[in-house]
């Protein structure tokens, strides 16, 4: 059971990283244009086109 001393902090740390990532995405405006983001992946970059 001693392994819990290590595992619990690791689990909490990982979850906290996830929470921080969510806050970052919220602050950087990634939820402002959900429809646009879904469509933008379909736009081929000009440099990717076979010439």
């Amino acid at each position: 059971m001693n392994v819990m001393i290590v595992l619990i902090p690791i689990a909490l740390f990982m979850a906290a990283v996830g929470l921080a990532a969510f806050f970052w995405s919220l602050r950087s405006g990634q939820y402002e244009d959900l429809d646009g983001a879904a469509h933008r992946v379909l736009i081929a970059d000009e440099d990717d086109l076979p010439s």
């Binding site: 906290a16 429809d35 646009g36 379909l42």
Partner: protein, 750 residues
Amino acid sequence: MAIALTEQGCPSGLAPADDGGARRADPDAFVRRDPSGHDTLELMVQGAKCAGCIRKIESSLLALPGVTDARLNLSTSRLRVAWSPGALAPTTITEALARIGYGAAAFDPAAAIREVDEEGRKLLRYLAVAGFAAMNIMMFSVPVWSGDGEMGEGTRTLLHWISALIAIPAALYAAQPFFRSAWQALRARRANMDVPISLAVVLTLGISIVETLQQGEHAYFDGITMLLFFLLIGRYLDHRLREQARTAARDLLALQSVTASRIGADGHVVAISAGDIAVGDRLILAAGDRAPVDGIVVEGTSELDRSMLTGETMPQLVRVGEAIHAGVINLSQRLVVRTEARAQDSSVAELARLIEAGEQGRARFVRLAEKAASLYVPVVHSLALATFLAWTFGPSLLRLVGIEALDVGLRVALMNAVAVLIITCPCALGLAVPAVQVVATGRLFKRGVLVKSGDALERLAQVDVAVFDKTGTLTLGKPRLVSAVESDVLQAAAALARVSRHPLSRALVEAAGPGVAVKEAHEIPGEGIEAGGMRLGRRTFAAPEFEDASDGAAELWFSSGHGPPTRFAFSDTLRPDAAQTIAALRGRGIAVELISGDRPVAVEAAAREAGIEHWSAAASPSDKAARLTALRAEGKKPLMIGDGLNDAAALAAAYASASPGTALEASQAASDVVLQGAQLMPLVEAIDVAKMARARALENLRFSALYNIVAAPLAAAGLLTPLIAALAMSGSSLIVTLNALRLQLRWSRA
């Protein structure tokens, strides 16, 4: 046509939305300098729907010289363009968009301030914290539940302590919206749903801490964070719904925003946005412009279209010294106007009082969820109190009547009372109504129906009388040629009509199709157009020797100088689906009335064509509002549909109200529902959806009640464990949400 569509507009083959040829504001007035020194302009783009649209719009704008940034937000249809100062004229941008087939209108920054949705972000943050806490505490709770009996007391207490360390700060942070709302309600001596929620949060945290300190079994840290997580989902959905409708409605209005041409002290004319107009400014009102403010004519003679203000379709003549009101459209000649009021104080202000009076009546409307809460709160709190009293005094009472019973102590009594509050915490109740309303309004939103609030949907479901305005609501507000005329006469008359912006001239031109205009034509406001012996205009101007036809229709007379004059009769066209909408409303048991400020002949004709039996004409704004008030006094629940300023008071006085997207700002502001596009049928769909949503919300409330009836006695009997609490709460929330989603399922099958 097929080729035109693939080359223009949306490449997916959908034509861009028709803006009805509305006049566009001059984008010059809306250019702003951003902090990095670039000029920026925000535009509303119509018809952008897919990835191809984004690419086409952004790449063609970036190709313009000087443009440094162009980004389209597909969700809001807003386009932000930035360019080096002086590199290009703002109109180049709208022209470039028009060339590739997208309508674009500059935004008035005052009307469409890009408000960051602070409250929504905050709610998302609370939601994330509650979710984080709930999931992590579950990591410690599952071993406690499953290790029943085998887990030592020390390990269990350790796990409880870790849970407490996460749950206490997380719950106190994430429950803020509930605490705040409950506090406000209590200060106003009311009880809302947030009062039992806040109470349950505080009591559960307290009792769980005490239990942990005493190394007991029942700590509800998992339940409380999960409860907050679910409740915050409901709260966020509710917020998003209102925010979405509010933004869409504001964008619609921003599209209508007008610019003005001000004559400066040095005689130069500058374009300014309506919000910048000061009292005493001299403004140029060109033919076709809508007056942004109240004012006095100081130069020129012209005709005004006052249909937005009064419903009257016939133009009215104005001369120097006469007053004009905000919202009128100048039809024929250039006018110079001295402003008498600022935009926000114009005409609308005198109607504001009427609107306010009407809205006070509506504020008394009690939302479904509030009704449920007012029944629920006293029942639950007295049940909790009864539980506490029964466990405290129950044993001694039993001993009095001779039954053997042991005292359980204050701690167990308190624990069981709190368990009642926890299990009955209105988690499902809090989700029951918003979940349904979000699904319903989301669906209507896609059909071009903006529902401004959740309670608008509830009120719409109950309407039993529909009162329509005529001009611009039941009709398109545009006259159409109805008399049969020989084609060469029509062409000759249209050649004269092309120089005029008078609505009848425009209708004549529309009927004649493309052609040339007579260059030397001269327009006399209030009379007609004259060129080389030909005259087109009112009877007294073009054909004074003829008798009045006296059928009340709008008319133009044309004399070519030789031969008898020709009469063109016009009538205002009904919206294509007006009769169908009226019939559909009748089929749903909703009585229909027509009330208009127009002349009786015109109203009667429209009523007959649309199939409406009850109509009244020449009604003033207060007449309209009085009719709605009278209907409500009879116990009816009237729905008012109108678009003009003259309808605004009636819209506010009605039980529920709707306006077309072309309506003026004051009318849209007073409406619950705004219909985009030229169709009326979406209104019927909105009523159907509202009825279904109400039925579903009631089902959800009934289910929540049933759940409480089953769960509360369990808790009162002391049989509740943290595991049962967690399962019951998440289970009931899920069922309520799934039931709401069923609303969506029904549509996709249909």
